[in-house]
Symmetry: C2
Subunit: 205 residues, 2 copies
């Protein structure tokens, strides 16, 4: 069996450990890396090492950060009585980009997916329940994705938080689901339209 | 504008320098990298640095190698009088995997693509002409891909090699194009079938 040079082979094997990256993609990436200037490639190598050495999870919200608590949890301007529960740091960033939200967050670090072996105990749900029990939280907004796993996780959270929420007088809410703002109805998929119809509401007075 | 932690941001920026990787993919890769074990991530970082430090291009065939000349060019078993011209190291590996070919190679390190600013002078065509002029090569097999850029590069090579080939009595050939071996005609695309019809030949006697 012919082989790439050792160092190239080791790089391809390393890249293949990333989820969703097979042999072909790993080879493609490796050849791109060879073509980078030496400075850029060494910078990338350093940045990978750095990120593993510097990044931690905030002990309050579990967002990735270099300081604990994270900048959001330690920001006196943020409303600590409202907690938005997201699956992952990328979702948190999406909300931050929207710029609307002034509360704090709780990162679950995933969603429940029993078929993939991810159960509630693999997420930060216990910590969330404790956060609510501690008191001072008026509302927990569950903002998991409106897909199969996200809705399942939302339903699990609703039940898991029920007792603590009652004790601490905390509202548990779910982000709205329907036609996306700005969309043209003619271009919205059947499934989303049907879902939006099922979820219809009275006009507010 | 909200931002990821510095180290994560730097990693995303580094990844974005790879061709074909936009912000979304860079973020996705970065989050995968965070999830790797520390050992695996540091190994990947080391392997990237290694590959840039150890890999060179063989001065004869321009294949990536850790030694110069490369293992193929320095293998006494390989037939140095037959040179297969490929666009890139990955193509060379594909031929090696096929196991049929016992000659040596010449890597062009790309193909001519004027729209992307890649001209003949960016490839190792001059070195190939010199290789032929030096003598001792009976056949040069042009094995660029049968796509737009590969065929263009093949046509350019045919012309660029003509004088040297005549002087050194070297045959210039092109790999066969047609329906792929093992394919079922019903599943072969129209374009490939039309191409195979146009290229039809008499049976050999």
């Amino acid at each position: 069996m012919p082989a790439y040079p050792d160092s190239l082979n080791r790089l391809i094997q390393s890249l293949k450990q990333l989820p969703g990256i097979g042999t072909k993609t790993a080879e493609r990436l490796a050849f791109h890396l060879i073509k980078l200037s030496k400075d850029d490639a060494l910078a990338l190598a350093k940045n990978i090492a750095d990120v593993k050495q510097k990044l931690i999870n905030c002990h309050i919200c579990f967002n990735f950060a270099e300081k604990d608590p994270c900048p959001i949890c330690s920001d006196p301007q943020r409303d600590k009585s409202t907690v938005c529960v997201v699956e992952q740091a990328k979702d948190l960033m999406a909300f931050e980009r929207a710029g609307e939200y002034k509360g704090v967050y709780h990162c679950l670090l995933g969603h429940i997916a029993l078929l993939e072996g991810i159960g509630p105990e693999d997420l930060t749900i216990d910590a969330l329940v404790k956060r609510v029990l501690k008191g001072g939280i008026k509302e927990v907004i569950i903002a998991t994705s409106p897909d199969l796993e996200g809705e399942g996780t939302a339903a699990f959270l609703r039940d898991a938080l029920a007792a603590a929420a009652k004790k601490s007088a905390t509202r548990i809410t779910r982000i709205a689901r329907g036609v996306p703002a700005g969309a043209e109805i003619e271009n919205v998929s059947q499934a989303i339209l049907a879902d939006a119809l099922r979820g219809r509401r009275e006009f507010e007075k």
